[in-house]
Structure formats: structure tokens, C-alpha cells
Symmetry: C2
Subunit: 220 residues, 2 copies
DNA sequence: TAGATTGTTAATCGATTAACAATC
DNA sequence: TAGATTGTTAATCGATTAACAATC
């Protein structure tokens, strides 16, 4: 995966065409923390507070942000609402984005009822399952639909992300269906290694990998 | 978060005392992919194949591995079983590690019944919930216990990781209980910003953040 | 004013990659 | 042998951080 050159411009320079992967990942992380901080009633945050929560060095946080404008106030910090708005603008992810969810088991139901996506402008607008006895049943305010409905749903509901909350052996088949329907981002909660065309992005959830990593630094 | 110096030694030099965070994260990722590849029946993999699955440059994969020994065979690739064993040894995470799970809702049940942790040597050995009507009910082969049992369970069952699958407003209280019980690694599926002592590691699951990030590169 | 925190510079350090000899 | 792929070097590039003047 090539990282496009881009590095933040000096003061006053135009914003870069495309963020580096590192910067984009950190901005998304700041957004998560800011969203939560806002919910807890904070009005301003300092780069030091953000550093505590994100484990990103405070100098780097200031550097990441100052590449796009002077969002902070010296001696005070950053206004939470304003910073959220700015980061959303930088990431161009302000608008609502629709998600199709596959799998109406425990995991699928947990995702559908969670606000973890909703807080960031993602909305689960359709849920699919292959088990005939689940089709037609309710999950929150949605009704479980057959996978054959997918192509129509993608067009009608402007679905840009497919989330797979299904067993390993069902994941590749559904990924193929999603690709055929034109979905370009797949979020995979199974452990299957998905084969997709290069223009499609697969993100595989890996809690165990994250744990292995945390455990290493705990053990050493 | 300071990154200790370490960089891989030349051939024949002793392994470094402590891996850099980047290397440790990538090794854990290789392990995930290798585990899945093994399940799918592959006996050898090339650095190029690993690169396709992990999106890590193949030169870097060879470099990461060659710092610890000559695990591959020129013209052939790496033996999957042997490489899994080597990486486990490097990460010192071969042994079984016990997990306590909090929350017996949809998410907790999904985690308890998943093999996503089990594949990497993690075992959910206790499940807790605060709702009186859930205590005593069965989740897989486990029985839901009251949170007051935690301290005893940590001692008796050698629990090293606590997983929070609970609502945001319950997360901090449980984190405090885990810290008091001596657990040093917390895996947080809620969106709460947890305050813990510096020696405790919190990893917050952030699917929405990952999606924002994927979406940025899709939109630009 | 005094204290705090940003925005920015300059230097360092580690990650990344192309290229290729070694060798299976 | 011919083809493939590792192990390793050398060069580059981006990330990281300490430090501090600016300023709220």
C-alpha cells in the first residue's frame, strides 16, 4: 500500500490533496475521543488532554491540527464542537453514510442496536440474513431481509459500506455479492481472509490481534 | 507513549530486548493471517502472499521476520506451522491467557461464543453481569456471575484481561473494579473514555473510527 | 501580570522500499 | 538448469519529539 506524499503544509499554505494514512487514522481517533468528551459535557480540550486519551504525543496532535488552520486558543485549548466540525470537514465525512449489515445473530443484533456507528454519521439501513426463519423478523426498527434483496437495496438506499457479522464460511460469498452490487468498503467481523478486487477496501476486525499486542507489552 | 529503541539486529545478533510497537503490531497481524491460512489448508506462504492479505509491503515482512532468524526457504516461502510457532515465541504469547467478560447482552454472548479469541490462545473463563435476572443464566458452558465475584475469580482463574461489553455508563465503574482486582489489560467495547492508572492498558474497540478512515480513502 | 497552552522550528530517529546477490 | 523467493544492503522518506517564542 503506497503512501502518497503529502505532509502538512506550512502556515497559510493550502491543505494537502490527500492525507497520509497516519494522519487520517489519528484524526479519526481524535474525533472519537472528542465525540465522547462532548457527551461528557466538556467544552474545551487541550492537546495534553487529548494526548492522555489517545496516547498520541501532544506535540504531534498540535502539529496534525495546525496543518489545517489555527483551531486552538493559546492558554485555553481547543473548542470541542468547533474541532469536531473541523475534523469532519478535513475527513470529508460529515454526511450520513448508509450501512448494510449481514447476519442477524447475536453480533448483528449488538451492532444494529449500538450507537457506536450512529455517533459518527453511519446508519444501519438494512439487515440481511440467509436463514429463512430469520427473514421477516424484526431487529430494532429494521426487518431482516433475504440476501437477494441486496442489489436493489444498494441502489435505493445508497449503501456505501457492508458489514459482515457472519460465520467465517459465509463471509467470502457475501463479500462477492457486495462487490457485485458495487459496494466498495467491507467491514469484516469474521476471521475469513477475503479476496476482493483492488478497488474494494476490506477492514477486518481483530480484537484478538489487538490483545496479543497489548499482552506483549504487559509481559515484557 | 515513548517507543523504546530496538530495531532488528543484523544476522546472528541476539534478539532485541523489546520490540517496537510497529513490529509487535505487524507480527500480531501476521499471526492472525497465518492462523486463518492454516485453517484453509495452506502449508507454505510467501512474503508476497502475506503482503496481499495484510497490506504490508513484502520487503518489510521479510525484514521483520529475518531480524529473528532465517525462517524461510528461498524459492519456496515460509512454512505456515513453523512461522506461527516462531511468531508466538517472539511475542511470548504461546500460553493460554484467561479473560473475564462483562456484559451478558447480545455483544457479550457474541464474544463468548466466538472463536476469535480462542484461536489465539485466549479463553473466556468467566462472565459477569450486574442485572439480577441474568445472574445464574447460562452463556455457552459458562454461568453468568455477579460482579462481586470478580476479585475471587481473578485469583482463582488467573485472569489477565477484562473485556467490557457493557453500556457506556457502566464501563468506568467496571474498569475501577478490574483495576482494584489487579487486572492490567482492559479491552473496552463501549465508547466511554476510561480513566485508569498508568500501568493499566486500555484498548478501545473503534469500528466507526476504522470506517471513517476507510471512507476517507474511498472518497478521495 | 502570571500562568497556560498553542503553533512552529529544527533535529533526530525509525520505517519504508527498491534492488539484488544468495540459494532453494 | 531455470524460476522463484528469501535475506540484506543502502538510500530515502516520513514520523516523532524537545524546545520555545507567541499569545490568549
Amino acid at each position: 500500500m503506497s503512501v502518497p506524499d503529502l505532509i502538512g503544509p506550512g502556515a497559510g499554505a493550502p491543505a494537502p490533496e490527500r492525507l497520509s494514512m497516519g494522519v487520517a487514522a489519528r484524526l479519526a481517533r481524535y474525533l472519537q475521543v472528542l465525540t465522547q468528551a462532548k457527551r461528557e459535557g466538556k467544552e474545551t480540550v487541550s492537546s495534553q488532554e487529548l494526548s492522555t486519551w489517545t496516547k498520541v504525543n501532544s506535540t504531534q496532535i498540535r502539529r496534525d491540527l495546525s496543518g489545517f488552520g489555527k483551531f486552538g486558543k493559546r492558554g485555553v485549548g481547543y473548542n470541542v464542537d468547533a474541532l469536531v466540525a473541523q475534523i469532519r470537514k478535513i475527513l470529508r465525512t460529515a454526511g450520513p453514510h448508509n450501512i448494510a449489515l449481514f447476519g442477524a445473530g447475536h453480533l448483528g443484533r449488538a451492532i444494529a442496536s449500538s450507537d457506536i456507528f450512529a455517533d459518527h454519521g453511519f446508519s444501519v439501513v438494512a439487515i440481511f440474513d440467509s436463514a429463512p426463519d430469520k427473514i421477516g423478523s424484526a431487529v430494532g426498527h429494521l426487518t431482516v431481509r433475504p440476501v437477494s434483496d441486496l442489489a436493489a437495496a444498494v441502489d435505493e438506499e445508497d449503501i456505501v459500506v457492508g458489514v459482515l457479522a457472519v460465520p467465517n464460511n459465509a463471509a467470502q460469498g457475501l463479500a462477492d455479492v457486495l462487490v457485485d452490487a458495487g459496494v466498495k468498503i467491507i467491514f469484516n467481523y469474521s476471521e475469513a481472509l477475503l479476496q476482493v478486487p483492488p478497488e474494494v477496501t476490506v477492514h477486518t476486525s481483530s480484537p484478538a490481534v489487538d490483545l496479543l499486542y497489548a499482552l506483549y507489552f504487559y509481559l515484557t
